[in-house]
C-alpha cells in the first residue's frame, strides 16, 4: 500500500543541486509562509509577549497575570468544561463514527441513501441543530455533544467508511481462517487499518467541537449557566469588556495546552501506530 521510498534524512545537505531544489520549493511555499507569519504567527507572538506585562504594557510582570487568571473561578470553570466537552465529544465521535461506518459497510449497495441523509445535517445552519436539541437537557454538556453528533456523525461515518473500503478482503479472509468472529475481525483487521483516518477524524473532531460554540451561543446566550460555560465564552466575554489581559492569558494557555497534547501524541505515536 504505502510505497517503500525512504524519506531523506533531516540533516540539511547543501549540495548545489539541493540548493536549487530547496529554492524552488521555498518560492512555491512563500505566499503561504509569508501570509501565515503576518496573520497567524506575528499576532500570536505579540499576544504572548503582552501577557508578561501589566498596566497597559509598561511594567514587566512575569507570570503575575497567569497567577491571577488561573486563580479565577470563571477561568477554571471554563477550562474544566472545555476539557470535559472535548474528551466526551471525541470518544463519542470515534465510537459512533466507527459503528456508523461498519453499518454503512454492511449495507453496501443501499449505503448511498444513508450517506446522503447523514451529510444533510452537516449542511444545515447551526439553527437547525439548536432547534432539535433545545428540549433535551439544554443546560448540560450533553446537549452540545448531541448537537455535534447529529451534525457531523454522517460526515465521520462517510470518512471512516471510505477508509474501510480500502482494506483488502484477503485480510478478512485470513482472519476468518484463524477462526475470528465478526467483532474480532473488526478489532484485528478494520480498526488498525483505519488508524490514519481516525486521526483525521480526531483532528476534525476537535475543530468541530470548538465550532460548537456557535450552537452554545444560540442555545444559552453569552453567559450560560452550568456546564455550557466554555473557554470561548470566557474569551469572548472578556473581549466585550475590553479585558485584554484576561483573554490573552486564556488564549495563550489554550495554545500551550494544545502544544502539550500534540506533543504527547507525537511522542506516543510509536505506541499509537503499533509495531507496524
Amino acid at each position: 500500500m504505502k510505497n517503500a521510498r525512504k524519506k531523506p534524512s533531516s540533516i540539511m545537505i547543501f549540495t548545489a543541486r539541493n540548493r536549487r531544489r530547496y529554492l524552488t520549493g521555498l518560492l512555491w511555499a512563500a505566499p503561504f509562509l509569508i501570509g501565515a507569519v503576518i496573520f497567524l504567527l506575528a499576532p500570536f507572538l505579540r499576544l504572548t509577549w503582552g501577557t508578561l506585562f501589566r498596566g497597559g504594557g509598561r511594567r514587566f510582570a512575569g507570570f503575575d497575570n497567569y497567577r491571577e487568571v488561573f486563580a479565577s473561578e470563571a477561568f477554571r470553570m471554563a477550562a474544566l468544561h472545555t476539557v470535559l466537552l472535548l474528551a466526551v465529544s471525541l470518544i463519542c465521535i470515534i465510537s459512533i463514527g466507527v459503528l456508523l461506518a461498519l453499518f454503512l459497510k454492511s449495507i453496501k449497495d443501499h449505503a448511498p441513501l444513508v450517506m446522503a441523509a447523514g451529510l444533510v445535517p452537516f449542511l444545515m445552519p447551526a439553527l437547525a441543530a439548536v432547534m432539535a436539541v433545545r428540549f433535551i437537557c439544554p443546560d448540560s454538556l450533553w446537549s452540545l455533544c448531541l448537537m455535534h453528533l447529529w451534525k457531523y456523525a454522517g460526515f465521520y461515518g462517510v470518512l471512516l467508511a471510505a477508509a474501510m473500503n480500502q482494506i483488502p478482503d484477503d485480510y478478512y479472509e485470513a482472519a476468518q481462517m484463524e477462526g475470528a468472529g465478526y467483532w474480532k475481525q473488526v478489532r484485528i483487521v478494520t480498526l488498525p487499518c483505519i488508524r490514519e483516518m481516525m486521526g483525521f477524524a480526531v483532528i476534525l473532531g476537535v475543530v468541530h467541537t470548538f465550532l460548537g460554540y456557535r450552537e452554545a451561543l444560540l442555545l444559552a446566550g453569552t453567559h450560560p449557566p452550568g456546564q455550557l460555560y466554555l473557554i470561548q465564552h470566557y474569551i469572548s466575554n472578556n473581549f466585550e469588556q475590553m479585558n485584554q489581559m484576561h483573554l490573552s492569558v486564556a488564549a495563550v494557555s489554550v495554545v500551550f495546552a494544545m502544544c502539550l497534547c500534540v506533543g504527547a501524541v507525537w511522542a506516543g505515536r510509536r505506541w499509537l501506530y503499533g509495531k507496524a
Binding site: N3, R5, P8, M12, Y22, T24, G25, L26, L27, W28, A29, P31, F32, G35, A36, I38, F39, L40, P43, F44, R46, L47, L100, F103, S106, I107, L113, V114, A117, G118, P121, F122, L123, M124, P125, A126, L127, M131, A132, W150, G154, A162, F200, V206, V207, F210, Y213, L217, I231, Q232, I235, S236, F239, Q244, L247, A251, V255, M258, C261, V262
Partner: protein, 254 residues
Amino acid sequence: MEKREKRRWYVKGSAAGILLCIFLVPVLAFLERGLWENGGFTLRWYREVFLSSPLYLKKFWVSLGLTLLLTVGQMAVGIMAAYGMVIYELPGRRVIAGILLILLLLPVQVLLVPQYLVLERLKLLDTMWAIILPYFFLPFSTYFLMIFFDKADRSVLDAARLEGTGSVKLLTKILLPIESRPVAALGLLVFLYAWSMVEQPMSFLKDPQLYPLAVYLMTAPEREWGLLSPCGVLAVLPLLAAAGVGIRRSVYEA
C-alpha cells in the same frame, strides 16, 4: 439460512430507517417553521425572502461570491505551499507541519483579538479584506494537502522531472490530476467552512451591511423564525450544489 438472512435484512432496514429519521426529521421541522403563520400553511415567508425584498437575495449572492473567493484563495495558497514543501522536500517541513497542526486545533477566539490588532495596523478593518486575507492563510488546506501530497506516488513525479518538466507543469499537469480526489474533497470542506463563517465578520466588520448570510442566520432574533427558515434554505442551496459536485468528484472518479 433464508429466514436468518431475512431477519437480518429487517434489522438493518429498520436501523437504516431510524438513522434516516434522526438525520432528517429536525431538518423537516426546520423547514416546517418557514411554511407556517398563525396556525396555517403559508408561502408568505418564502415570498418575502425570494421575491418581495431584494435584501436577502443580495446578501445571498454577495455571500456566495465571497465564499467562492475564499475557497479558491485558500486552496490555491495551500496547494502551492504543500507542493513546495513536500515535493521539494523543504527542510523543516515536519516542524512547520507540527506548528500548523497546533494552529489548526485552536478555537477561533484565541487568535481573534491579535488578528484584530494586526488588521487595525494594516488599516484593513471594516473592509472585506479583513475577512478574506486571514482566511487565505488558514493552515487548514495546507496541512491536509501536505499529508495528501506526501502519499503521492513519487516515481511518476521523478520520471517527469528527469524528462525536464518545469515545476509549474509538474504541479498542474501531473500532481493535481493524480490527487484530484482528495483535493476536491478538501475544497468542499473549505467551501462549507467559509460559507458558515461568523466569528470573523462579526469581529472585524462594523457595518452590518457587509455581513454574510450566515451571520444573519446566527444573530437574528427569534420572533423572526418564519423569515429565518427560508433564509436557511437559501443558505443551504449552494452547499447542496457544492456537496453534489464535490462528492461526485471525489467518490465516483475512478
